[in-house]
């Protein structure tokens, strides 16, 4: 069990690290864009992905600096 926990901890630290809001933002961006690509809004999906990514970056910076 210790090895399983250690395995997942390693990958969490490696990918997410101390920036959970970045990983969460990227996931939200991809899920929202993927949903849009299967609707009539598909032609504007290329705009949605970078916009949500940009918002995720801005939010992450706000989240990090608000504690100062």
């Amino acid at each position: 069990m210790r090895y399983v926990t250690g395995f997942f901890r390693f990958w969490y630290d490696f990918i997410v690290g101390d920036a959970w809001e970045v990983a969460a933002g990227v996931l939200i961006a991809l899920v929202v864009t993927a949903v849009i690509t299967s609707t009539a809004l598909q032609p504007i999906a290329w705009l949605v992905l970078p916009i949500i990514v940009a918002l995720a970056l801005a939010f992450s910076l706000y989240w990090l600096t608000r504690k100062r």
């Binding site: 490696f14 920036a19 991809l30 690509t37 598909q42 990514v53 940009a54 600096t65």
Partner: protein, 248 residues
Amino acid sequence: MSGTFLVLSTFLAAGVEGIEALTIVLATGITRGWRSALLGMAVALVALIAIIVILGPAIALIPLDALRIVIGTLLLIFGLQWLRKAILRASGLKSQRDEDAIYQREVAEMKAQPAPRTDWTGFVVAFKGVFLEGLEVAFIVVTFGSSAHDLPLAALGAGLAVLAVIVAGLVLRRPLSSISENTLKFSVGLLLTAFGTFWSGEGIGVQWPGEDLMLIILLIAYGLLSWGLVTALRRREAQSAAPAGGQS
């Protein structure tokens, strides 16, 4: 498709993919260390050769979109994390002195050890970049070569492109090494974010206008956004420091 046109087509198409891989390897090598970047590149090339040898023309059956989603998502997360740190440093919110101290300590530790440690982030980023782009080059060779019924000639065009990209990498390595550390990390963050957005988007079915040209638009857009964020953070920091009488 004539022989010359086939070689030229695969050369150009493979060249575009090769330049994308080279950009990632160069950026990773300069910022995270050449050992990890070159190791990541070498392991990716070995994995690619193994896949090509085992699968042959059946390589076209690999679900490229699924790979793009996984690799693109990871690059996007890493890119945004690097960009975030670079923005904080550029805006003065993350101490350059702390970073310098950490850097000096790491350099001293590395000098004290008989063999330098491998930076796994650098390794993984370089591996993923070379592996995905290499796979795309293999797809180009198979699809172009199969449609022209001349696989060896298509492979020749791609091989020449890879050779040209390697030469370009060797030439560019030295001048890029003289750029300041934070500028490089900023650039790498922007590059990984742009590539990550592009690949993960392709994987989930986004139709990018202008196709590969969209990478440049994404780079410019993320660059402008980062510049705006640095400016806004600097202004906020200056405003909050003013009433406290120049708190450092």
